[in-house]
């Protein structure tokens, strides 16, 4: 095995945010982005984080993803208090436990599809052969095993996002965080990506949190939470119905 199964020794509740607040500094003074947010995500659960631009979705995702730190509150992910981690520990944590998918794919243009996926596995060690095997398997999962040697510039947006997803799941993370994964895609491609995410969640048994303002996402998740001006508001009934 390349790495220990991400689900070993993990609590049932993978994400636990309590009283999380965050602000950013601007010329006009501090701008609150998140205000006393509580959020829980369980293992293998799919949650959509909805809200308009500037509502704090990405910030919440970054905090949960050990990319940013909350000003107040506690953040426990996979049983680890992220606030107690230093920079290196955060980096290592991301490498082992988390997968990321971004709106604009964030692929390395000088690496092929296979190499982009391998890039996510290198921090975890292992042999070259095992990394290649895992990467190839992840690309097969996303249906791109015939494009291993292609560079991102040679691929469509949908294909690039599939590579990005393969990169995110190759290490079998406990949690997959997707920030507007369909934002740069047309409706049909977006739907395919969301289907893929759903398939992968079931295949890899990871929790998925998707930040989005795309209403279609609701069909692919277990639960929808909404952020309005940094505050988590009760789910709307129709969204709750859609989710179920």
């Amino acid at each position: 095995m390349l790495i220990a199964d991400a689900k070993d020794n993990l609590p049932g509740r993978l994400i636990e945010l309590r009283g999380v607040s965050k602000h950013y500094d601007s010329d006009a003074g501090p701008v609150p982005v998140l205000l006393d947010v509580d959020l829980q995500v369980d293992a293998a659960e799919a949650v959509a984080l909805k809200g308009v631009s500037g509502s704090g979705k990405s910030t919440l995702l970054h905090i949960a993803g050990a990319i940013d730190k909350a000003d107040r509150g506690t953040v426990r992910v996979c049983g680890v208090d992220l606030g107690s981690l230093n920079l290196r520990e955060q980096t290592d944590f991301r490498a082992r436990r988390l997968g990321f998918v971004f709106q604009f794919f964030n692929l390395i243009p000088t690496l092929t599809a296979l190499e982009n996926v391998i890039a996510a596995l290198e921090p975890l060690g292992g042999t070259r052969a095992s990394r290649q095997q895992s990467a190839a398997a992840a690309l097969q999962l996303t249906g791109l095993d015939h494009l291993l040697d292609k560079y991102p510039s040679q691929l469509s947006g949908g294909q690039q996002q599939r590579i990005a997803i393969a990169r995110a799941v190759a290490k079998r993370p406990a949690i997959l965080l997707a920030d507007e994964p369909t934002g740069a895609l047309d409706a049909m491609t977006a739907a395919r990506i969301l289907e893929l995410l759903d398939t992968i969640r079931k295949e890899v048994h990871c929790a998925v949190v998707i930040a989005t303002h795309d209403p279609v996402v609701s069909h692919y998740v277990d639960r929808v939470v909404r952020l309005e001006q940094g505050v988590l508001v009760p789910e709307l009934a129709e969204e709750a119905n859609l989710a179920t």
Partner: protein
């Protein structure tokens, strides 16, 4: 963010935007500016420093009332000398005795000495002494002397010291009363009778006439100094005083002050730097040109969207072009100010180094107007051209550019980059290597510019090593072990006695002196060495023709620059003259020599010409015994002035060439710094452009150390390619420099050694990762979240 004062400047919108844009790339602009400023400073400062030396020299000569003409005659009583005051162009003249001797120093070494005794009875302003310590000569203090400053500077002699000076067969004890500088010995006196003139190898002292007259019963005179009226023709006066002197005296030689050995040595020395300094400046200019054009093009290329927006808003392309032109103009002004501020610093460093190394007083730095003008014109032309090239891009932009979204993905890599990258086992090797191939032109330009910088540095070290190595090799090709100079010419039987007494069985006498030759209306003095053609112990690097031969006793060898100056070639017939005796000689060979004006005759020919039959001024010897022992024994002989072993000659060469070392190091420092700045300005920029990729790696779990390693590796790959190219470049540039040196001085063989490359490449290998550090810091200190929020990762 730009500072508030920049944001509040009352500028038109395009210019305001560009000034903020410039702020964001301030580091790169500063690096480019520094490269250009360096080049300007080196060109203006270096060449002005060289001119300052010449100006200072002329001023010192004027202040010291240096004689325009010096005549050397066979020693005679002053009463036998003709008068020269009736020659109208002669403003003043002074009689003196220049007495070659030797002095014992506290270190037990014996130094050749020139004792100067003033025989004139008036204080005429010719070769006036400038007292630096102590008091002047006192006629009531016959044993009191003044020493020339080099004796104090190089040999630690002080006021109050007592010196033991050889006078004929006696030793005189003389007391140092003062230290003075003399325009005649502007450079630390060198002994041209030595095989290698080195600073301080000749001591000079000024004594009361009683020192000689008490011992000889009369005061001999063998030197006359002349100062001419302003505007007088030196050649005319020289001829007339020589003719007048010949009516009563045996004239050895008459020379202009420009023919003085130290004068000519200084000219030769500085000619070397007139070659080196412009080369450094040209390399800086080339690097600056490439970097500036590149940076300006990058700047415009990075602005399509904002410029497109301006066009949409109704601004004309001309208005945008003017805004860019204003920015380039401000940058040009900054470079001019910086470069011209640096120029005196670089010039001053050169002056201190050069003057200290050859024993010259420190000259005052002054700008040479022509260098200043050309330097300024060069910078304006460079930035004008670069700016114009970049501004043309503005005119091809359209409002549609405002709609475009820049996709970094178009910069992937090419097939070669792909193939090479596949060979790399890890991402932190693969990514940097492929990044070099995604901007091929930029990478090529960067590699070439850095290679130029390192190549020229290596070339300087190679050229210097070649210069020294050639000199030392020439010495080692001599098959003698030591050269012995006599106090005065010795008869053959005295030479035989000297050699027998010291157990020397292998020796070859030589003669040294001065002769004049006339060719194509030029009359110049030559330093003659007369050698036995059957004993080719004293090596000559023949560049044309043949060596001396007894079958052609009047065939002579000429030093190559002298031959060139006189328009002489193999077979040329010339008239040589010593003390009025003339003979016809033929140029048999031309050689490469370190001494300006050197010529070699067959000893028999020189003896006849100089009326030194059966006499020698020195000898070359070989020995199987202890050379050191033999040298010490010989030095005790009253007839021996100097003994120089081959090893000592080689050591003197190295000591004399030390002056170049500092200049070489300064040039190397500048070149390496320029290479570092270039990497920072250009490669750093493209690394920063890809900041998003590095942030992605951080998101994936790559530690900061690995990100830093990635950047260091990319710069390392670029550096490695540059150093590979720098290797042949260095050899080629060194060969060019050596050809120039050979034309200016003596034939220099290009000697390439690994050590010279390592002196350049090792600092380069250290520098380049250091350059990577601030670039990496810029990337790593940005929080990932901030980068994600700004949408920079695309």
């Amino acid at each position: 963010m730009p500072p508030n004062w920049l944001r509040r400047l009352p500028l038109p919108a395009p210019l305001l935007h560009l000034s903020r844009s410039a702020w964001l790339m301030f580091g790169r602009l500063l690096a480019v500016g520094m490269i250009a400023a360096f080049g300007l400073a080196v060109y203006v400062g270096g060449l002005s420093a060289i001119d300052s030396i010449f100006t200072a020299r002329d001023n010192w000569y004027a202040e010291g009332h240096l004689a325009d003409i010096e005549m050397h005659v066979a020693a005679d009583e002053m009463d036998n000398f003709p008068e020269f005051s009736s020659i109208p162009e002669v403003a003043a003249y002074r009689f003196r005795m220049t007495y070659p001797s030797s002095v014992s120093l506290r270190t037990n070494e014996t130094l050749p000495l020139l004792m100067i005794v003033d025989a004139s009875r008036s204080n005429l302003p010719i070769n006036t002494l400038k007292m630096m310590a102590g008091t002047g000569l006192d006629p009531n203090d016959p044993d009191g002397i003044i020493i020339e400053r080099s004796l104090a500077h190089f040999h630690g002699v002080k006021v109050g010291d007592t010196l033991s000076v050889k006078l004929g067969k006696d030793q005189a004890t003389l007391h140092v009363r003062g230290i003075a500088s003399d325009a005649e010995f502007l450079l630390a006196p060198v002994n041209p009778a030595l095989f290698v003139p080195s600073k301080g190898s000749l001591g000079v002292m000024y004594a009361n006439p009683a020192v000689l007259s008490d011992r000889l019963g009369f005061l001999p005179v063998n030197s006359i100094l002349f100062r001419l009226q302003a505007g007088a023709s030196i050649d005319d006066v020289l001829q007339r005083v020589t003719e007048r002197a010949r009516t009563r005296l045996n004239v050895d030689w008459t020379i202009r002050h420009t023919e003085q050995f130290s004068y000519r040595f200084l000219e030769k020395d500085l000619s070397v730097f007139r070659i080196m300094v412009p080369v450094i400046a040209v390399v800086s200019a080339l690097s600056a040109s490439v970097v500036t054009v590149f940076l300006f093009l990058q700047w415009v290329a990075a602005e399509p969207q904002p410029l497109g927006v301006f066009l949409v808003l109704g601004y004309a392309p001309e208005q945008l072009a003017v805004a860019f032109a204003a920015m380039f103009t401000w940058m040009t002004c900054g470079v001019l100010i910086g470069g011209l501020t640096f120029a005196p610093i670089i010039g001053g460093a050169f002056l201190r180094s050069f003057s200290g190394s050859i024993g010259l007083p420190l000259p005052h730095f002054a700008f040479t107007p022509s260098c200043l003008a050309w330097g300024v014109v060069g910078v304006i032309a460079l930035f004008g051209l670069a700016g114009a090239t970049a501004i043309t891009r503005v005119f091809v932009m359209t409002p549609r550019d405002a709609m475009r979204h820049s996709i970094a993905l178009r910069y992937a890599t090419d097939s070669l980059g792909g193939a090479l990258g596949r060979m790399m086992p890890r991402v932190w090797l693969r990514m940097p290597l492929r990044s070099l191939f995604r901007h091929r032109i930029m990478s090529g330009v960067a590699i070439l510019s850095v290679a130029l910088g390192f190549g020229i540095t290596a070339a300087f070290f190679i050229s210097y090593s070649s210069f020294v190595g050639t000199s030392v090799n020439r010495v080692s090709q001599n098959t003698w072990d030591a050269a012995v100079d006599f106090v005065s010419p010795l008869w053959n039987e005295d030479v035989a006695h000297l050699t027998t007494a010291n157990g020397i069985t292998q020796f070859s006498p030589y003669t040294k002196g001065v002769a004049q030759i006339v060719s194509m209306g030029n009359r110049i003095n030559l330093y003659i060495g007369g050698f036995d053609p059957d004993n080719q112990w004293h090596f000559a690097q023949i560049v044309a023709g043949q060596n001396l031969s007894n079958s052609d006793p009047t065939g002579i060898l000429l030093e190559q620059s002298t031959a060139r100056q006189l328009g002489l070639s193999i077979g040329s017939r010339i008239v040589v003259e010593v003390q009025g005796r003339q003979r016809t000689a033929t140029v048999r060979g031309i050689f490469s020599g370190a001494m300006p004006g050197e010529a070699r005759f067959a000893i028999s020919f020189h003896r006849e010409l100089a009326d030194m039959k059966e006499q020698s001024t020195g000898l070359l010897l070989r020995t199987n015994g202890d050379l050191q022992d033999l040298s010490l024994k010989l030095l005790k002989d009253p007839d021996v002035q100097q003994v120089m072993t081959k090893a000592q000659v080689a050591a003197e060469i190295l000591a004399a060439s030390g002056q170049v070392t500092e200049i070489i190091r300064l040039g190397a420092l500048i070149s390496i710094s320029i290479a570092g700045l270039f990497i920072f300005a250009c490669v750093g920029y493209t690394v920063l452009l890809r900041s998003g990729e590095y942030q992605t790696l951080r998101v994936l779990g790559y530690r900061n150390g690995l990100i830093l390693l990635l950047i260091v590796v990319e710069i390392g790959f670029l550096g490695l390619a540059s150093l590979c190219l720098a290797t042949p470049l260095g050899a080629l540039i060194a060969e060019y420099l050596n050809r120039k040196l050979s034309d200016a001085w003596f034939e220099v063989d290009t000697i390439i050694s690994l050590a010279d490359y390592l002196k350049t490449f090792l600092p380069g290998f250290v520098l380049m990762p250091l350059v990577a550090l601030p670039i990496a810091n810029l990337i790593l200190r940005v929080p990932i979240a901030k980068e994600l929020r700004s949408g920079e990762i695309t």
